[in-house]
């Protein structure tokens, strides 16, 4: 039988999914710890033998293979812009949407100590924005000079003032840098233009970053590494929301992905205010938006989760007898490979998951503020109004392998609505119980209709 093999080189696991395209079925999935640090092939081969076992003797020939990766810390990007609320934010949003990890953001003209900081962060790509088209030029030129003189071995994507292009191009080529130009991420004031930047990031990822990640060798066996894993999840979410040729989607939705180090939230929604009379403020929102909370996670970030959430918020979801929550979080943050064993382990994980996802969704959603004016009360919304989202899908280990995904997802709906956070009100809760979202995002590059139908078949509704 012919099948498609989808590979996800994750930061902890290498995951394989075998798909029967004709019957729109998942034949088997398997995973094994990633071995990027040593030789990526070891983990891949282990996962592959385990996949063969799970196929239970079905003779399968993988005619097509595709891969995505978030191995070795993911795709690390530093974003540079001019004003923090404008071009810096626009650049960061574009990079997040491309599946990147933002390891730093810088505004205005950078100094030498900031250059040193950037070096220490070891980014794969520097995204250089600043100035609207025809607007401020001095900042982006100054920053390009700093990069050319001190960071010429890092790839640069320039997405700022188009009227600075020739000067930038000369700087970059004189210093023999790897660089790409793309449309300004903010061509006019408050106009967000993220798509060209996302495309450019993805292309550069395929051409260059894969090489640097030691993934090149694996490509012989698994086919092209097409995108960073978070971008695959985003693409799965987008197709699930909007549908594709001849197959309807679910409408506006959100995906929450709880990991060991971060909690990701994706929303595929316009986010316009539900009621008339609300003024929409700030930078416009991308229709497909991803946020990453680096302080909310199940393991590496368990202690920072404790620091931001505090005792009461976690205690609300954890009813176990050992109430030294701080100590528990600290020890989890030191045992990043810990798999829950006891009932108490499971319960505590569920509580952390609930709080992580609740806070991540609160931060992702827009805030409604009240302004008292001479005419009376005026409402101002900054960010997306997500109250009307029809569906909330959960993925990530604690949801998929844990005991109580429903309680965790339910917690998102108990978030800070009181403080004006416009979080979903009555979404259908769903679980990625077969852990296939990133694989289906990947598959949708080639077989969009089948990827969508498979998701609709395998995602589980939770009451």
């Amino acid at each position: 039988m012919e099948a498609v093999l989808l590979v996800d080189f994750g930061s902890t696991y290498t995951k394989l999914t075998a798909v029967d395209i004709k019957n729109e079925e998942i034949l088997a999935t398997a995973k094994s710890p990633s071995t990027v640090e040593t030789d990526i092939m070891i983990g891949l081969q282990k996962a592959y033998s385990s996949l063969k076992e799970r196929l239970k003797g079905i003779p399968v020939e993988f005619a097509e293979k595709y891969a995505c990766s978030s191995a070795a810390g993911g795709l690390k990007i530093v974003a540079l812009g001019l004003v923090p609320e404008l071009t810096v934010e626009a650049a960061a949003r574009a990079a997040l949407g491309a599946g990147a990890r933002i390891v730093g953001t810088y505004n205005h003209e950078i100094e030498m100590y900031e250059v040193e900081e950037i070096v220490a962060k070891k980014p794969d790509i520097i995204l250089l924005a600043g100035g609207t088209d025809g607007g401020n030029k001095s900042c982006i030129i100054h920053n390009a000079k700093m990069l050319a003189e001190h960071l010429s071995d890092i790839s640069v994507i320039a997405a700022g003032n188009s009227k600075a292009r020739e000067e930038l191009e000369k700087l970059f080529s004189d210093h023999k840098m790897c660089y790409r130009f793309t449309e300004n991420v903010m061509p006019r004031l408050n106009i967000l233009n993220v798509e060209p930047v996302r495309q450019t990031i993805r292309k550069l990822f395929i051409e260059r970053i894969v090489l640097a990640r030691g993934l090149k060798r694996a490509e012989k066996y698994v086919g092209k590494v097409l995108m960073p894993t978070p971008a695959a999840v985003m693409q799965a979410a987008a197709i699930l929301a909007d549908g594709t040729e001849g197959e309807d989607g679910y409408g506006e939705l959100m995906v929450v992905d709880i990991g060991g180090a971060t909690t990701d939230v994706h929303s595929i929604a316009a986010g316009e205010p539900l009621e008339a009379g609300i003024n929409w403020y700030g930078l416009p929102e991308p229709y497909a938006k991803r946020t990453v909370e680096g302080d909310l996670g199940m393991r590496v970030s368990a202690y920072s989760l404790w620091q931001t959430a505090g005792y009461q918020r976690i205690r609300k979801y954890y009813t176990g007898s050992n109430s030294d929550i701080e100590q528990k979080c600290l020890s989890l943050s030191e045992q990043i490979d810990k798999i829950p064993v006891t009932d108490d382990d499971f319960e505590f994980d569920a509580a952390l998951g609930a709080v992580a996802v609740q806070m991540a969704v609160e931060r992702h959603a827009g805030v409604l503020e009240k302004h008292y004016t001479p005419t009376g009360l005026v409402y101002a919304l900054q960010g997306k109004d997500l109250r009307g989202v029809s569906c909330l899908i959960g993925t990530g280990g604690v949801l998929v392998k844990g005991r109580d995904p429903q309680r965790i997802l339910q917690a998102t709906l108990e978030g800070g609505f009181g403080e004006g956070r416009l979080i979903p009100q009555k979404p259908q809760l769903m679980l990625d119980s077969s852990y296939i979202l990133s694989a289906m995002g990947l598959l949708s590059n080639v077989y969009p209709v089948q990827a969508l139908r498979i998701m609709k078949k395998y995602l589980k509704r939770i009451v």
Partner: protein, 146 residues
């Protein structure tokens, strides 16, 4: 060419009509207008001016609370590296009718280069701005507004 201006109505003020007229008049005269509209904070004006490399900021206040809304504007501009920028303000700058000289001085003290009384025609401000920026209006090559 130094002809980029940021235009908007400051504070919780939502009088939109004059803003549209100013946008039309300055655009027609050949200026590059970045109109941030009503309900704009000082930060909105300043951020817009920084990113677009604007040469002047034109602030409107119609509802009588201009004095409170405009306080500290010049200082913030300087903080953001906009020490050269021209600041104009106009509309109904205070509550009710007060002696104009007093009102003008009040805003000049706050660091505004030009202060306009109610009923100012756009063309008066356009002429002033061209002079202040040392640009020749006829070279902007657009229709003349009168």
């Amino acid at each position: 060419m130094r002809n980029t201006i940021v235009l908007g109505v400051i504070g919780s003020d939502c009088h939109a009509v004059g803003n549209k007229i100013l946008d039309y008049a300055f655009s027609s005269a050949g200026f590059k207008v970045i109109n941030i509209g009503v309900l704009s904070s000082q930060e909105d004006f300043i951020n817009a001016a920084v990113e677009t490399d604007a040469d002047a900021i034109l602030v409107s206040s119609l509802y009588g609370h201009g004095e409170i809304d405009c306080r500290g504007f010049r200082e913030k501009c300087e903080e953001e590296g906009l020490s050269e920028i021209l600041l104009y303000v106009g509309g109904n700058l205070v509550v009710g009718k007060q002696e104009w000289k007093t009102v003008e001085n009040l805003y000049k003290k706050m660091g505004f280069n030009r202060v306009y009384p109610p009923g100012t025609t756009p063309v008066a401000a356009i002429t002033d701005l061209a002079r202040d920026l040392k640009i020749d209006l006829s070279k902007l090559g657009k229709v003349k507004v009168s």
